[in-house]
Symmetry: C2
Subunit: 336 residues, 2 copies
């Protein structure tokens, strides 16, 4: 048994044909005669040959691999989106690699990964990519392909697939209003985030539609993390005058927020109605079960990959594709 991996040449020799023919038989079976194909396939079996993608990619300048950039692998919300991407990708014969954008230098390394033809491009679930990535990937001649999913970045011509965040936020507030609430506060996501802005805009829009005041002191700052929800809970408890309902920009913060209140004897929904955003898996099993806005996560993943593939192949794509959100009514919000 040879020490090294067999190469096309070994197969060629075993099959009694040329290396080029082996390559053709494997990549374009139609371009080769029935008989040769069989000979080659048999030789492949015999030798235990596996194509060296490295060499293939170096030649073809394409890799059938794609990198997904996630702002926070810890947030379970993303896993379903990744699953969606994966299922579309595997149908197309693509390998999906996931990477967190937060580790120091992580984004940079990944970008090099793509720039080096080790992956065909990126799907970013993080709208705040380092400028270096944005500039070198924003499409165009010979540039790596980039697509945003969930989040996005205004101004650049980068295609994005997103949820209707503003509409979802309106749904949340409308629900609260329909329950008889009028004193409604909001816990924001991180500053400078497109989702934060869109959800806040939806909140304001719905409030305005009903002539409800948006009180400065009822707008709390968060950053989508559990801890920031806890912190917001503390601030809420100190409020001179408290709202009777809160629309929280995501589920994770809601858990921190509700639990902090619970620790101080304030119960949701008894003392405060809460609607959140995302509908991650635990939302249904939190106590109280969370009323929240659901986004079709698997679908968006699939759509993102489809968009990526189109863009990579040079087809024109819709620049913005928006998927609808729906409200899931459970226990955390009740009549005023």
């Amino acid at each position: 048994m040879p020490n090294r991996q067999p190469t096309v040449r070994d197969v060629a020799q075993a099959a009694g044909v040329s290396a080029a023919t082996v390559s053709r038989a494997l990549s374009f079976p139609d371009k080769v005669s029935e008989a040769t194909r069989i000979k080659v396939l048999r030789a492949v079996e015999e030798t235990g040959y596996v194509v060296n993608q490295l060499a293939r990619n170096l030649r073809r300048r394409t890799t059938s691999a794609i990198v997904v950039l996630v702002p926070n692998l810890g947030n379970q919300f993303f896993s379903h989106i990744i699953a969606g991407i994966e299922s579309a990708a595997s149908r197309a014969g693509y390998t999906v690699l996931v990477s967190d954008t937060r580790p120091p230098g992580g984004g940079e390394m990944l970008m090099d990964f793509v720039r080096n033809n080790r992956a065909d491009g990126l799907i970013s679930l993080d709208g705040n990519l380092p400028g270096s990535i944005l500039s070198s990937a924003s499409g165009g001649r010979g540039r790596p392909t980039l697509v945003f999913a969930c989040e996005w970045h205004d101004g650049l011509g980068v295609p994005s697939v997103r949820f209707d965040n503003e509409g979802g936020a309106e749904l949340a507030v409308e629900h609260l209003v329909s329950l008889g609430h009028s004193r409604i506060g909001h816990l924001l996501g991180p500053p400078g985030n497109v989702l934060t802005d869109a959800r806040f805009a939806g909140y304001r829009r719905a409030m305005a539609r009903h002539g409800l005041p948006v009180r400065e002191d009822w707008i709390l700052q968060g950053d989508f993390t559990l801890d920031s929800g806890v912190q917001a809970g503390r601030e809420w408890l100190e409020l001179a005058e408290r709202p009777r309902a809160m629309f929280l920009a995501n589920d994770e913060m809601a858990f921190g927020f509700i639990s902090e209140l619970h620790g101080k004897g304030v119960e949701v929904p008894r003392d405060l109605s809460v609607v959140a955003f995302d509908d991650i898996d635990i939302a249904e099993r939190y106590i109280p079960a969370l009323t929240t806005v659901r986004q079709p996560r698997h679908e968006i993943g699939e759509a993102a990959f489809a968009t990526f593939l189109k863009a990579f192949n040079g087809a024109t794509t819709e620049l913005i594709r928006t998927l609808p959100a729906t409200l899931i009514v459970r226990d955390s919000a009740r009549p005023a």
Copy 2:
């Protein structure tokens, strides 16, 4: 501006040296004269050259990239382990790619990825790898490097870094006993999983030590998912005689379990004490806050990468490295 990425040759020309020298200046700065190095570096700047890893790896037969296999990206538990791997890896100049083992054909594709020199090897957080991967990666001459973290696979000579699952389980049960409990049940993880077995063994050991009976009907079957926790909750509610305490094999199931009971008017810890395993982020903010066994997740990630690097470089490694677990006492278990 040229249409294509600059190559070593472009840099060589700009610097007035040969391609070989450029390569040397970049890879082994010491092997080149001060003056040339400066010239080359300047030329690199000018041309905007970035090394093409693909070509480099094809030549060097090493990639500085590693793939991490995760059984379930949705379980937040893994994200901290990945973070640990990432921090150790980035210090070593490695790129970390994560992949879910569940998508159809996913494992296979990933293995090809490695077999093709597109990554140096794998760290698997999944003990139940397809046989094809195990056999082609189980180390040895020219074989891709594989290391297990958290989970493992007995029999093969694959190095693994793990938590003291059995000890952690004992801690959990001891705690319950110290609270005065004697009627203690257990919710298992998935069948055929090493963690399931180890945690169950720890449970039995602690029970035996105190002369407590292990009742068949108090051993429920789960699979580490939220849903299986819900299902177990239903079964628990139907029990003719109920235990007064439960040790659940992970947090995720605990959420499903506790919430299902809550829906039926059975409250934790009022009516039932619960201790779980993992201490994922939400555990502290669940209602009730979960008493659970914590594992040093970041550390295990770092240790796993260190082990990987050693193994990849041909050094001998401890075959089994075990990290201690600690009990985090919160609200979900109280005196009998």
